[in-house]
Amino acid sequence: MLSRVAETLYWTARYVERAENLARLINVNNLLLMDLPKGVSPGWEPLIDIIGNRETFEEIYSDFSEKNVLKFLTIDSRNPSSIINSLQYARDNARTIRDVVPREMWEAVNRLHMSMKENSNSFLSKRGRFASLKEVINQTLLIFGTMDATMSHDEGYFFWRFGSALERADMTSRIIDVRSSSIKDDHIALPFENIQWMSVLRSLSGYQMYRQKMGVRIRPGDVLKFMLHGEEFPRSVMFCLHKLKSLFINVPDNAAMIERIDHSITELEKQPVANLQGKALHDYIDELQIDLADIHQQLSEQYFLH
């Protein structure tokens, strides 16, 4: 497998995954805001912090209104992490490896990007928004499914999955970080704390699985355990790390990478995540993100084109 192709597969997966995660995040925030009274509502601002583009946003817009934030996150081409840009990058990347990926996968990426561009206004209307975001989620799942079902599970496929797993772990950590810090716990907000933690789970499509695994009660400590340490939920950071490791078993010259991932797993296991709160939680998530970035760095140094 060409180094450049491995790298491109990896990035394509990251961009598709990013578009999907962002679509989920917006949908959930939308639903959350309908449940919360004005004084408690965190509004749309935290979403800008989750994707980490506050500076760009503030340069373009004067306030964090629903309209501005939604436009910025979905169809604004000035935001490098908007859904439209993620899909644009995914398509640009997929286009350079059309010869490698199954034809249906390319067609699915191309179609999604095309329909997003043609229907960009529907993301801005309150009514059209839900259906459009749902469509993004469905189509990205179709892309992952097509790769899974029709591409040989060879090295190229593994790099595709690395991209997806690492992006997921990264997004989960971001959501926890920003969401937990914006949860208010004063006496007015207290009755709604549950709903807010629930929405953290929902942002990761984890609410139903959480209830099956951890019970009906939503406890912040349990949510963190589920999201960071959960070994069975596919969006938990621990799950993603194990996935990375199991994928690497099939890749040539893997000793250093496996050792690197093992190190991350051990470090994560050691953390008493259920007890983390406030600044301690924030600091730990910072560490975790640096760790994930470091895995990417090592992967790139060893296998990608220089």
Binding site: M1, L2, S3, R4, V5, A6, D92, R95, T96, I97, R98, D99, V100, R103, W106, E107, N110, R111, M114, E155, F159, V251, P252, D253, Y303, L305
Partner: protein
């Protein structure tokens, strides 16, 4: 169709079709289908206009979804555009096709002998058949290639020759593309789109298949490997996604199951072998189907600032460590002035007469020819000798006095690099334009593969169509489209 939609469901009407002023590929001068086109005509006339229109829409959508694209330079943000396909196929009788095929094989054989001769003894010049001055002013002659002998003495392994039919029904060769001819992927994709849109038409007619091309191409490439391996490493070298034919580079790599590489993926090591950079380190490459122009292949040998090429590639090639397809320097015969000597080449190398005629061509460097061109510029098509894609061309009857004067001034400055041809009445094929079907002008680009051991010609080729009424310019970069090409018994 139900009664309610009758207003939209008139059947396809070709009664006003103009088959008189031009040679039409489907319909003769009496408005009747040609012998080999009867079944197609019956099929079309059973369709209602709305069925035909929805079939065209389905084809357009398929093209968009399949991402069949090409690039137009200088369009700003949109780097790829959908490839327009008109769904009414262009048909050619198999009987006629066999003759064309023989003519193409003859031509390419002579052209390869010509190129090999130019880079070795230059007998054709010494024998006074081809003028020495033309060679010394050739922009595509590569001195770096002199004395090199590629496998089987073949330089132009892949040739795309453009054919046109004039009003009298004769098929002519308009030019030979021997550098990096493109379009074959569109020939293949057109067929797959038309199969999606008109599956039942294929049941009624025996259309010869086209999809053998990728395996023929692969076999040809693999047979040229410098190492005698069961599975030589064959790669397609692309300049990248900004190239107008990027879609095709991908498509062919995919169909052949080989790597699509960019210059930065390859490296020439101290052993003069070419390697590609993989996740497991370097891996030797045997055959490169390069879709990069000569001048960008190797910054050490040609343009020193080329970012697309691979330093040392010419060294590896000249030492026989890797095969480049087409060979560097093959473009010396891809020159519209050299083209005018093809009949002489065929006589000289093969002792045969040309089977597929050239278009009468005026060489602007010959004083008598130039006088004629000057006096008749409003009737002629003037072409630079070394451009492709329809760039730089003047169509006399459709040009202004000012444009004619400008072109004449360019010719005077560099007569060696200009030719002129009579304006041909290119043949037409019924083509959909909104709700109407009208004749539109077409050409045909078949592709010829030469390995030295065998020669293969595609079944038909790529039919390009000028979608604008009356236009004679079929190039996709100039608003042309294409049609599926059917060779039928």
């Amino acid at each position: 169709m139900s009664k309610q939609t009758q207003s939209q469901s008139q059947s396809v009407d070709l009664s006003g079709y103009d088959g008189v002023n031009f040679y039409d590929e489907l319909i003769d001068e009496n408005g009747k289908p040609r012998e080999h086109g009867k079944v197609l005509m019956d099929y079309l006339s059973q369709l209602s206009t709305s069925e035909l229109k929805s079939a065209q829409d389905a084809a357009d959508l398929a093209v968009k979804e399949m991402g069949i694209t090409f690039t137009v330079y200088g369009e700003g943000s949109s780097i790829d555009r959908s490839w327009p396909i008109d769904i009414i196929p262009r048909i050619i009788a198999n009987r006629e096709w066999k003759q064309i095929e023989a003519g193409l094989k003859q031509r390419v054989k002579a052209l390869n002998m010509f190129i090999d001769d130019l880079y070795h003894d230059q007998k054709i010049i010494k024998d006074g058949v081809f003028p020495k001055e033309l060679l010394s002013k050739s922009v595509n002659f590569r001195k770096q290639c002199v004395g090199i002998t590629p496998p089987e003495n073949i330089w132009a392994h892949i040739c795309g020759s453009d054919l046109v039919r004039d009003k009298d029904g004769t098929m002519y060769v308009l030019e030979d593309n021997l550098r990096v001819p493109s379009g074959v992927s569109y020939m293949l994709e057109n067929r797959s789109v038309i199969k999606r849109v008109f599956p039942d038409m294929f049941e009624q007619m025996d259309v010869l298949p086209v999809n053998d091309y990728p395996s023929q191409l692969f076999d040809m490439l693999a047979s040229l490997s410098p190492r005698p391996l069961d599975k030589p490493e064959v790669v397609v070298l692309t300049p990248g996604i900004y190239n107008s034919a990027y879609f095709e580079h991908c498509y062919l790599a995919q169909e052949m199951g080989c790597e699509l590489v960019e210059g930065r993926d390859l490296v020439v090591e101290r052993d003069d072998c070419v390697y590609m950079k993989t996740i497991q380190g370097l891996r030797r490459v045997d055959v490169i189907y390069r879709r990069i122009d000569d001048m960008f292949l190797d910054p050490e040998a040609f343009h020193p600032d080329s970012m697309l090429g691979v330093p040392g590639l010419m060294r590896a090639w000249s030492k026989g460590k890797v095969t480049l397809v087409n060979a560097p320097g093959a473009g010396v015969a891809d020159d519209k002035v050299v083209y005018t000597y093809v009949p002489d080449m065929i006589r000289y190398y093969l002792s045969e007469e040309i089977k597929l005629p050239n278009v009468d061509t005026y060489r602007c460097y010959e004083p008598d020819d130039f006088k004629y061109v000057e006096a008749n510029i409003d009737k002629l098509v003037i072409k630079p000798a070394n451009e492709s894609g329809g760039y730089g061309l003047l169509i006399g009857p459709k040009s202004t006095k000012k444009q004619q004067q400008e072109t004449l001034a360019q010719i005077k400055a560099d007569p060696r690099n200009w030719i002129a041809q009579p304006t041909l009445n290119l043949s037409t094929v019924p083509t959909i334009d909104g709700d109407k079907i009208e004749g539109r002008h077409v050409d045909l680009r078949p592709f010829i593969l030469s390995s030295g051991q065998s020669t293969y010609v595609t079944t038909g080729g790529l039919t390009r169509v000028a979608l604008v009424k009356g236009s004679l310019v079929v190039n996709s970069s100039q608003g042309g489209g294409s049609k599926d090409t059917w060779i039928v018994d």
